[in-house]
Symmetry: C2
Subunit: 208 residues, 2 copies
Amino acid sequence: MAEKDTVKDQIVDAAKKRFSHFGYAKTTMAEVASDCAMSPGNLYRFFPGKLDIAEAIATEDYSKHLEHLRKIAVQPGKDARERLHQLLFEELRRTYHKLEKDPRAYEMARVISQERPKFANWMLENERKILVELLEEAERRGEFKMDDKQFTAEMVQAATMKFRYPQLWSKLTLPKLELELEGVMNLLINGLCPHAAEQRRTAQGEAA
Amino acid sequence: MAEKDTVKDQIVDAAKKRFSHFGYAKTTMAEVASDCAMSPGNLYRFFPGKLDIAEAIATEDYSKHLEHLRKIAVQPGKDARERLHQLLFEELRRTYHKLEKDPRAYEMARVISQERPKFANWMLENERKILVELLEEAERRGEFKMDDKQFTAEMVQAATMKFRYPQLWSKLTLPKLELELEGVMNLLINGLCPHAAEQRRTAQGEAA
DNA sequence: AGATTGAACGGTTTGTTGATTATTCAGAAA
DNA sequence: TTTCTGAATAATCAACAAACCGTTCAATCT
């Protein structure tokens, strides 16, 4: 049924327009159906429910973002620190801008994360995979050093949790948040223990 | 007016009983007043409002906790890593147990933090002061190394933010949370860069 | 048969009304 | 005067009804 995909796409398209214009809560299934010139009941042949349409939209959008992140993570000519830096900053900026410029999209993300914790978890996992790749390569090049890459990636995510949840920002501006992220990153990379800071530069030299 | 303090204490005592027994929302000013054998209106000679009574209770309780933390921070015979470890774990455990065993107290904390963001900020600041002291002493002993102690303390708090907000725990058990906190702490102290791990042990030796 | 409809069902939200309660304040009591 | 009261006020909450909307499915169409 190649047609089915087209219809699904049509539904997703219509819903995308409605959701971004009026918000998730304010658009009804009847409206989406009418935009597709079909009855409300017929939507359920293509999606289990309203939330699943939203999830499809979010997945599509998020996949693009993920690809973007992956590109950053494997950027040649930059050392691991720089790539990790850009990776985390990109996530912060995306969240911040979604919140500021696109409250509708943010509402949708909030609803989905709330009703489908699995989805939020899936996003974290995907980003973690990228992190793991970055960390593995960094260790191969001698830039970073760690025992368990998977666990370390989880810890990096735990330590940067604050920058993923706008509820924790309490009216902080983006520059202030960036300053904080910068500081946390430096701590994560260099640690508190005194040690030769030149090692970093050496590793960077090898990488180039 | 030495009497005023006594009356304030009496009010706080009565409110404490009511709040912990029935919860903040479910106790009325009239009840508290009646427990103190006075009229509701008279309470307002001693407190600006209901929330301020709760704040007084929370402040009293929190001050004890702070003192406890301060003792941990200056514990002799332990190196900075160990004291920082205990400090952060103590906070995690306190939050966790309040949530589990004393939902009333947790409700109150939630309401206060919500309505009085200043108060939540004040708590963070106080804990940060302790952190700064710990960091300063650790640097003096050569255990840690950093530029700006104040800023570093803020970053340590930012990186451990996840462990302060039960909303972010998503049904994680205490052992799992402790494992994560352990991991984040190791990252913060040792960093990702490869460096001589023995330096830590050396510093510990000097401290003993 | 398979695809589609749209009325019907049940859960949720919304709007309204009537308490309940925090807070105030004019005056009583000390 | 200073301290306190308790009725008055205004804001919030609870309960109930009506409307709405996501979802289902028996009936209709192709």
